[in-house]
């Protein structure tokens, strides 16, 4: 793997650490204005070695490299935690999350030997997979542009060999994505509703108002 690939993998785990720290900050209702600084501090803490490795090194050793889709999800989460709002930063739609969940589950079952075919093997000379991916990306652009862009980034990284794997799947999806997809599928709160977006915008304006 190239140094660029290492950097991409490490940045993914820095994002994960920052996102988890941001989640804690949001949970304890730390004011928005303090969050970016505290999250940057966590990023620094994440890469400082302690003992045999750093927090990022530990995360990378246990979880492996994160896919571009997962990194995009984490980035969206981080931006939302610091109070940014944009149509691209909305949580993914349930159907997109469900699709990701299904595909990843099939990949895992296939790899464990429970399904009688090697889905992962399709990612090595991935002509078929690329055609399906193109159709998926174009099809979901209007409804879910962030997800389409994440898949496009994964495809581009695969094209330039940006990660350690020669398999397209590793750029698009990884088991960690099951967690946010699961939460999104079974979340009863419709985060995409216009009312919610309006409420968030109102809150932003209130925060931005002088005095």
């Amino acid at each position: 793997m190239s140094e660029v690939g290492d950097l991409l993998s490490i940045s993914g785990h820095v994002l994960l650490v920052v996102y988890l720290a941001g989640g804690l900050l949001a949970l304890f209702r730390v004011p928005l204005k303090w969050r970016p600084l505290l999250m940057l501090g966590t990023a620094w803490l994440g890469i400082v070695p302690f003992g045999r490795t750093s927090l990022v090194g530990l995360s990378r050793g246990v979880l492996g490299d994160l896919s571009l889709s997962m990194q995009a999800l984490l980035l969206i989460g981080v931006f939302r935690i610091v109070g940014m709002r944009h149509p691209l930063l909305r949580p993914w739609r349930r159907d997109a999350a469900f699709g990701m969940f299904l595909v990843e589950t099939a990949l895992i079952l296939s790899t464990l030997g429970i399904l009688p075919f090697d889905l992962y093997g399709l990612g090595y000379a991935p002509q078929t997979l690329l055609i399906v991916l193109l159709a998926t990306m174009v099809g979901m652009w209007r409804a879910e542009p962030a997800c389409a862009l994440a898949l496009l980034a994964g495809c581009l990284a695969f094209a330039v060999g940006g990660m350690a794997s020669p398999n397209l799947w590793d750029y698009l999806i990884d088991p960690l994505i099951l967690a946010p997809c699961f939460l999104r599928i079974f979340s009863f709160r419709n985060a995409d509703s216009p009312q919610r977006i309006a409420a968030v915008d109102l809150q932003r304006e209130h925060l931005a108002a002088p005095g």
Binding site: M1, T53, D65, L107, G113, A125, I131
Partner: protein, 372 residues
């Protein structure tokens, strides 16, 4: 004319897909080593590879030839298997003697080189490619047991005097867990090679990793779908298109597992349980000539207290020809053989009671002498 964002995205996506397009590599063609016709005196000798005090327990040796006719062996050793102090050790065989072992990789050194946490280090497999470069594959774990292993790779262009920084191979979508190597690969005519590996998490099945001439991973093929207890394949080329694997059987039926490919490793025949017993132990197979296979294996159904050499004409029906080790105590272990055939000489290294790595060297004439 203004392009709608949807059309613009579709064009960019199509161009990216075209950029990512990769042709399917042509079918692999195996390199089949020629059979030498040199009449020499039968030779059989044994030696122990030295140990170091910090590694009283050793296991899983692998062996590769050197350009000067010597050998390099790599194994893991430490206070006990899977302990955090286990390291990979290496020693050279030159002029009839083994050098003192030297630690080459530890969990800490791999962790630093790969910038990822590594807790344990284990099985290694050496391979020399057609260009003469040595490849060392070895497994590491961050959490859990061996079934959560990750495959690492280092190379040497100076006959194992130095090794490159190890790199992790991503070969599994399951946070890259559970790809292990045990036996060396087989060279391909395009300069690449095929490395037999196996998956061990939940179900155990053999896989083949195909590498190009630069040592870059091209693809992975799973050889088995139905049987869930086959692992540690030993790969032997039969001709340019055909090869066979013999696998350790972790299942209750204790039969040696056999599979064959007729298309360069793309597809494999269904698992065949041979009459030859396999007590859940690693085997090493080599082909000495067209109708003569040699196998080093644990020959009794009990445990690993007997290590034998057997021969076969077709790779399926085996006959024992010599016992390398034999003990009545089933707690005593002689195991994990690696066979290396180069020219007239045949080398075997294996775990001797977990106290040492033993080296046995013999030649084709010695084998021929023992055939009926």
């Amino acid at each position: 004319m203004q392009l709608s964002p949807h059309i613009a995205f579709a064009i960019v996506a199509a161009m990216t897909v075209m950029l990512a397009w990769r042709p399917t590599p042509p079918p692999a063609k195996f390199v089949v080593p020629p059979t030498p016709v040199v009449a020499v005196k039968p030779q059989f000798e044994t030696a122990f590879i030295g140990t170091v005090p910090e590694a009283p327990v050793v296991h899983s040796a692998t062996l590769a030839p050197l350009k000067d006719g010597g050998r390099v062996a790599v194994w893991f050793g430490g206070s006990k298997e899977a302990a955090v102090d286990v390291q990979l050790y290496q020693a050279f065989y030159r002029d009839g003697a083994w050098t003192s072992p030297k630690a080459i990789f530890s969990p800490l050194s791999v962790s630093s080189a790969e910038y990822r946490f590594v807790r344990r280090i284990g099985n290694a497999a050496l391979h020399r490619d057609v260009r003469g470069r040595l490849h060392l594959f070895f497994v590491t774990c961050a959490v859990g047991g061996w079934s959560t292993s990750i495959l690492n790779h280092a190379t040497s262009d100076d006959e194992a005097a130095t090794w490159s920084n190890p790199r992790q191979f991503v070969v599994s979508p399951l946070i890259n867990l559970s790809t292990l190597a045990r036996q060396p690969g087989v060279n391909l005519q395009d300069g690449g090679f095929l490395l037999p590996v196996y998956h061990e998490l939940a179900y155990r099945y053999p896989e083949m990793l195909r590498f190009d001439r630069k040592g870059q991973l091209l693809s992975k093929v799973r050889t088995e779908w139905t049987y869930r207890d086959a692992l540690q394949p030993s790969l032997v080329p039969l001709d340019a298109d055909r090869a066979a694997i013999w696998c350790r059987n972790m299942g209750p039926n204790q039969r040696l597992i056999y599979q064959e490919t007729n298309d360069g490793g793309r597809t494999w025949t269904p698992i065949e349980g041979l009459a030859q017993v396999n007590p859940d132990a690693s085997v090493a197979v080599a082909r000495l000539k067209e109708d003569l296979f040699l196998m080093c294996h644990n020959a009794t159904p009990r445990m690993r207290e007997v290590l034998a050499l057997s021969w076969s004409k077709d790779g399926k029906t085996w006959k024992e020809m010599h016992r390398l080790e034999e003990n009545t105590d089933i707690k005593i272990e002689f195991s994990y053989p690696t066979l290396l055939v180069e020219g007239e000489t045949i080398d075997v290294v294996y775990t001797w009671k977990r106290d040492a790595i033993k080296h046995v060297r013999f030649n084709r004439s010695w084998v021929e002498e023992r055939l009926p």
